[in-house]
């Protein structure tokens, strides 16, 4: 569905992504794990069309990649960015409706609004509250809901569990699986590697801008290198 081959992305002068390739199949949950500064967010912003790759090829649904953010959104590539980035000056409802900015099917929008309210009942109570006044967990839910309101073909989630309590984190991961079950492809960048790998169909490990490992979620969970670096498991030195 989404194919990236040997892209190089620079963040200012920093060579943030080096010859990076990934392949995302329709209907799957794909996870990118990696430490702080490994380039996970850079990859997400590149896929969303905000950052540009200097070289390499990218395709979406077999067609050339949309050249900028608003065209990527129109094609169904939707990013829920790190740290939520809600419009604090708008109400929850207005934030959600901004997610549906490009859509003209009023019935469908209404339906999806019901759907996200059923996923996150607390948002219905907060609907006319300014997004800036929500708690961190509620903000994350609003951000995911705003992404869903775009009816994404592929949802890019950047650190959805950042700064959340364990209860909220569990809920967010449960929701991700639920969204995926509805048919939405998901690319998930997470520092919480264990949880992310547990729900992933396939996964990549990113280290200082390079893909160093890939496999199914289970394979990586049992890979000693991954266990040592990201899961806090100590192996005896050989």
């Amino acid at each position: 569905m989404l194919k990236v081959q040997n892209i190089n992305v620079y963040y200012g002068r920093i060579h943030a992504l080096k010859d990076l390739s990934i392949d995302i199949d329709q209907g799957k949950i794909v996870t990118i794990v990696g430490a702080n500064g490994a380039g996970k967010s850079t990859l997400m912003w590149t896929l969303a069309g905000v950052l540009k790759a200097k070289s390499g090829t990218m395709t979406f649904m077999g067609k050339p990649y949309p050249p900028n953010a608003h065209e990527a959104a129109a094609k169904g590539i939707v990013l829920v960015p790190e740290r939520r980035r809600l419009y604090a000056n708008l109400t929850v409802k207005e934030n959600l409706m901004m997610g549906a900015f490009l859509r003209k099917d009023h019935e469908g929008i209404k339906k999806d609004l019901y759907y996200v309210y059923s996923l996150f009942p607390i948002l219905k109570e907060r609907t006319n509250q300014y997004a800036g006044t929500l708690s961190g967990g509620e903000q994350q839910m609003t951000a995911i809901a705003r992404g869903l309101m775009s009816r994404p073909k592929i949802l890019l989630l950047d650190e959805p569990s950042l700064g959340l309590s364990p209860i909220y984190t569990a809920e967010v991961f449960k929701t991700i699986q639920e969204i995926n079950a509805q048919g939405t492809t998901i690319l998930l960048a997470e520092q919480n590697a264990k949880k992310a790998l547990e729900i992933a169909h396939s996964a990549y490990v990113l280290e200082t801008g390079r893909m160093v490992l890939s496999g199914t979620g289970k394979e990586l969970l049992s890979d000693p290198r991954v266990q040592e670096a990201y899961l806090g498991v100590r192996h005896k030195t050989i």
Binding site: A69, H70, R85, A88, M98, F101, L102
Partner: protein
């Protein structure tokens, strides 16, 4: 006397508010003070003047022509002068300097082509004033007041009730995220300039009728700028409140104290605000204002 001063003050304040709203709209999206706004107001007044006095088409055409003309000029301004800078991600300081350049350029273009004459609008509103509780209220003041309030209220409805208006408010908070939501930013910026230009045209007509039409009339937007600062740059309710407040206070100062001290008073007010309340009455952010 008091009522008369109040109405005059409100009507001047209304025109200040019209101008300040244009400033604030642009500031809220692009984070710079568009000093070419006054020039667009001046050009709008010229368009309106020539429609009414040379083409003899009447006030309605003059008003509509000024609004459309100023809106087109505002879009040309952004497309030719600002967009190339925005695409290169120039900081807002460069945009502000460019705006000053545009303003000087256009003003001198008027000197070269139209000349430095002062034109006065033909009589549109009856000079005879309306008697109301022993006060003489001029119909022009009343109309300026009514037009300003209706158009600002219309803008408020547009920004709060429509999809495009919500997108403008969203983008004023976070442009990158708005583009992730599918908003075509260069198109949205054009919409903002069309709105700001329309308000400039409206303000230009009323300024032209009340005073005169001449190349440097745009400098009166200094007052609108003060109004926007008092209200809080980038905030629309702030621009309206700042404009009305400034208009009323100015009129009262010139009637009850002295008209020579009026501008001293306005500029002192802005200094006081910048020192003690730099975000203005309803301002949101304090970082990097130019």
């Amino acid at each position: 006397m008091f009522l008369q001063t109040l109405v005059t003050g409100l009507s001047i304040g209304g025109v200040y508010a019209l101008m300040a709203v244009g400033y604030s709209l642009v500031f809220s999206i692009l984070n710079f003070s568009n000093f070419a706004h006054g020039t667009i107001i001046m050009l709008g007044a010229y368009v309106g003047y020539f429609i009414i006095s040379n083409l003899k088409l009447g006030f309605t055409f003059s008003l509509v022509g000024a609004i459309i003309g100023a809106a087109i000029l505002a879009v040309l301004n952004v497309k030719l002068a600002y967009t190339p800078l925005i695409n290169r991600r120039a900081s807002s300081l460069y945009l502000m300097i460019t705006a000053m350049g545009v303003s000087i350029f256009l003003e001198n273009m008027v000197y070269v082509t139209v000349g430095s004459h002062f034109y006065s609008f033909p009589e549109i509103f009856k000079q005879t004033s309306i008697k109301f509780f022993n006060s003489d209220i001029s119909p022009l003041d009343l109309w300026a007041l009514v037009f300003s309030f209706i158009s600002i209220y219309g803008l408020h409805l547009f920004l709060t009730k429509t999809k495009l208006g919500t997108a403008i408010r969203a983008a004023s908070y976070d442009m990158t995220i708005a583009s992730l939501n599918g908003v075509n930013m260069s198109r949205l910026i054009s919409v903002v300039f069309i709105l700001a230009g329309s308000f400039a045209g409206l303000a230009g007509i009323f300024l032209g009728i009340k005073y005169m039409v001449y190349p440097t009339m745009g400098w009166i937007t200094n007052k609108a700028y003060i109004a926007a600062v008092i209200g809080g740059l980038g905030s629309l309710p702030g621009a309206v409140i700042g404009g009305i407040l400034l208009g009323v206070i100015e009129t009262f100062v010139s009637v009850y104290i002295s008209s020579t001290i009026r501008d001293v008073f306005s500029f002192s007010m802005v200094i006081i605000f910048l020192v003690f309340l730099p975000a203005g009455l309803m301002g949101r952010h304090l970082e990097e204002k130019v």
